[in-house]
């Protein structure tokens, strides 16, 4: 049962990565990149590394999306 969750999360990481590459809107691409890092953090918890997951959730999913939004606003908008 838990291996099924790991496979589902890995597939979701792949889907989010491809969406981040192929979407036209830069905001949607930044959100998809943050989602890939969110699923990666859940995957780290499943694989038994809660400290890595906490760092990934705070920096990858929180701070990097914020920095990306700030950069998009400063350059394009």
């Amino acid at each position: 049962m838990l291996e099924l969750f790991v496979y589902l999360l890995c597939g979701s990481i792949l889907v989010s990565g491809f969406l981040a590459i192929y979407l036209d809107s830069t905001l949607a691409a930044a959100v998809s990149g943050g989602l890939a890092s969110l699923f990666a953090a859940v995957c780290y918890v499943m694989l038994g590394a809660p400290d890595v997951a906490m760092t990934e959730a705070s920096i990858g999913s929180g701070l990097s999306v914020l920095v990306f939004l700030y950069a998009i606003r400063r350059t394009a908008g």
Binding site: M1, L27, V31, V45, P50, M54, L69, Y70
Partner: protein, 86 residues
């Protein structure tokens, strides 16, 4: 009895992740995708809490706590961006 409840919760989380990713893929506007990301964060928190119970490790609940706080922050930043405020 309790194992049946855990299995039902796992199936519901699985359906939730699948539907959220589907909404993310076919979402027409950016708002749909942001709502899908918020929902997937909540489903991920419940998945981590379920895994903390099944695996018997209470330290995983701290990860779920950090997750909840930061999902709020990320969605707030996106909302500020959409309101031309960031």
């Amino acid at each position: 009895m309790a194992e049946n409840i855990l299995i039902i919760a796992a199936i519901l989380i699985l359906i939730g992740v699948a539907l959220g990713v589907l909404r993310l893929v076919i979402g027409r506007t950016v708002i749909d995708r942001v709502a899908a990301v918020d929902m997937l964060t909540v489903v991920s928190i419940s998945l981590i809490a379920l895994y903390a119970h099944v695996g018997g490790r209470a330290i995983y609940l701290d990860v779920a706590l950090v997750y909840g706080v930061l999902s709020f922050l990320a969605v707030l930043a996106i909302a500020r961006y959409l309101e031309q405020g960031l």
